[in-house]
């Protein structure tokens, strides 16, 4: 189903949760609403579900106005952050609930319900646990029950609120790959909310990056990661080092002497922010004389695929640099060593 959101505004008292938001979701798309907590992403999702109503703006489902439609009429599937399973019902009954509460004329026959629930149990790989109660399941299993329950009513769109937020790292990763595969299998329009950029980049077809009630950028993971629209997006999508800089003679300068290779586009002598990702530094123990930041190693964390190094720059700021294990072995760094950092790539945004 295609969803159009136009000029939506929502206030809670003096707090503006959504400020004039417009957005289009394509049929069959897997869309992530990404942003820090309090940015309005969950509010937007709840308004789409009909659990909350906007103060201004409109929603269209397949071109048809759904702004004032109540939650039952919208036929959406909603997966809550804390699952919201019915604890007095078995897994089977939880999934069957949406079918059993239908008016008699639309309610499927008993056999059909059983068949449908069994199919869904197979889809979420929980066939053996049909007669268990939610309290007897792990977090990941509960989340899958919640998903199967939402899918049972054949929703036109699936909405997930921080679906993996309450799970531990390992289960989280498994589940999001599984969600990706599931989406490829059933191709239902899906919108999920997350504050985890890694999750959004990995799972979604497109991302909507939000901040304090507004949309900062909409795009594919590739677009938003490599061509961030502004400082917020760049900062939010991964680790960064932030430097104050200003442009002189066409080149942006960090603290007077470090510049990237290319000339900048910014105006002369205007305060700017320069961002460098930690893995985009050349690091050496010898000075080259140009474009470098001199500093002392403060802390080294060699655990993991890359070695994470904290360096105190000569002007007293902590700079994070990630280098490969091979390079680390070559340089033989230890805390206290003097190093020189050359930024390989810099992103300049107006301050």
């Amino acid at each position: 189903m295609r969803i159009e959101v136009q000029n939506m505004t929502k206030r809670f008292g003096a707090f503006t949760a959504l400020n004039n938001i417009s957005l289009q979701v394509q049929t069959g798309e897997l869309l992530a609403l990404l942003g820090p907590s309090g940015c309005g992403k969950t509010t937007l999702l709840r308004i789409l579900a009909g659990l909350e109503f906007s103060d201004a703006g409109s929603i269209r489902f397949d071109g048809e106005d759904a702004t004032g439609q109540n939650v039952r009429a919208r036929r959406v599937g909603f997966v809550f952050q804390h699952y919201a399973l019915f604890r007095h019902m078995t897994v089977f009954e939880n999934i069957a609930f949406g079918l059993r509460v239908r008016p008699r004329s639309q309610r499927p026959a008993r056999v059909e319900i059983t068949e449908k629930v069994t199919n869904l149990l197979r889809l979420v790989k929980l066939q053996e646990l049909a007669q268990r109660y939610p309290a007897q399941l792990s977090g990941g299993q509960r989340q899958r029950v919640a998903l199967a329950r939402a899918l049972a009513v054949e929703p036109r769109v699936l909405l997930l609120d921080e679906p993996f937020g309450a799970l531990d790292a390992k289960v989280r990763q498994e589940l999001r790959r599984w969600l990706r595969r599931l989406h490829e299998e059933i191709h239902i329009t899906t919108i999920f909310v997350t504050h985890d950029q890694e999750e959004a980049l990995e799972v979604a077809d497109r991302l909507v990056i939000m901040n304090s009630g507004e949309i900062e950028q909409i795009g594919t993971p590739e677009q938003v990661y490599h061509h961030p629209a502004n400082a917020f997006v760049f900062h939010f999508l991964g680790d960064v080092n932030l430097f104050r800089c200003r442009t002189e003679n066409g080149y942006p300068l960090i603290i007077g002497h470090v510049t990237p290779e290319q000339p900048g586009e910014a105006e002369e002598n205007v305060a700017e922010k320069a961002f460098v990702r930690p893995h985009l530094f050349n690091i050496s123990t010898q000075a080259h004389g140009v474009n470098e930041i001199k500093g002392k190693v403060v802390h080294i964390n060699p655990a993991g695929p890359t070695v994470k190094i904290e360096i105190m720059s000569e002007w007293g700021e902590i700079v994070h640099a990630h280098i490969s294990q091979e390079q680390y072995a070559e340089l033989q760094l230890c805390p206290g060593a003097q190093v020189f950092l050359q930024p390989k790539q810099m992103q300049i945004f107006p301050d």
Binding site: V71, R72, G98
Partner: protein, 277 residues
């Protein structure tokens, strides 16, 4: 085998001391006095025992005691549920006061409540005088007994349902709504089943409390044999006639019924726990 002999280290010591104290405490307060009742009863022959506990006057008193208690507990289950609902779901000025008032029947001497109700509901009392022309008599009838038993049982259902209702997150109801349930369906299929165990526990406790009530009832019932006489009063009457064995025989009947009720409550609690694990 050896592993079993190794004493388990606990953070807080004193299991032996506290367990011993608990047993002593329960023995002195509960077990020994109750055993005494059974012992005293054994001075009666089986024939005398049955003659006492199955006398028409005794049977009538059981009917009133257990019947009125059951009706009172049912009323409390219904209205107590509503009070708990209001206290949990809505915010209004004076909520704390209403919350405190619920506990009043716990604190007030029940005799005082009995006298107050009697004064209000006699045919020339503040409320009774308006009911009398309608042909409704409350004081000195079983209706009066039910009334005071409802009063003393009020806190039980409220206090058992309230915390459970508080625990139900709003997303549970939202989930039901998104799945297409109407409000009544959400209530009957989701909320009520979740509250049911607490409601039944509250009902059973209110019922048990009402069965044991004495102070308030004797004022409002009028204590007419065969009509408005409760079993505890009959026991007192027997004591006043120095028929100690007869009094304990009735007490044994009440004790067995109370025990059965407690067993029921515990079974219900166990059943509830099993479902939530």
């Amino acid at each position: 085998m050896r592993a079993n002999l190794v004493k388990k280290q606990r953070v807080i010591p004193g299991f032996g001391l506290t367990m011993g104290y608990s047993l002593l405490y329960l023995s002195l307060l509960v077990l020994i006095p109750l055993a005494g009742i059974f012992l005293k009863t054994t001075t009666l022959s089986w024939a005398q025992f049955f003659e006492t506990v199955a006398a028409p006057r005794a049977l009538a008193s059981y009917r009133l005691s257990f019947g009125a208690s059951a009706v009172a507990a049912l009323l409390n289950a219904f209205f107590g549920f509503i009070v708990a609902w209001v206290l949990v779901r809505y915010h209004f000025p004076g909520k704390q006061i209403i919350d405190a008032i619920v506990d009043l029947p716990f604190a007030l001497p029940t005799a005082v409540a009995g006298i107050a109700f009697t004064a209000l509901y006699t045919t020339n009392g503040w409320i009774g005088r308006w009911l009398a022309p309608l042909g409704i008599k409350v004081a000195f009838t079983p209706v009066g007994v039910i009334l005071v038993l409802t009063f003393i049982g009020l806190p039980f259902v409220v206090r058992t349902v309230q915390p459970v209702l508080q625990d139900i997150q709003p997303d549970i109801e939202e989930a039901a709504a998104v799945l297409g349930a109407r409000r009544t369906q959400t209530f009957t299929r989701v909320l009520l089943p979740m509250l049911w165990p607490a409601l039944v526990t509250g009902f059973a406790m209110a019922f048990a409390r009402a069965v044991g009530e004495y102070g308030s009832v004797i004022f409002i019932s009028g204590n007419m044999p065969m009509r408005t006489e409760i079993t505890p009063l009959l026991i007192i009457t027997k004591l006043e006639q120095y028929d100690y064995a007869g009094a304990t025989a009735l007490a044994v009947v009440m004790l067995l019924v109370s025990f059965a009720l407690l067993l029921l409550i515990n079974t219900l609690q166990w059943w509830t726990r099993r479902q939530r694990v």
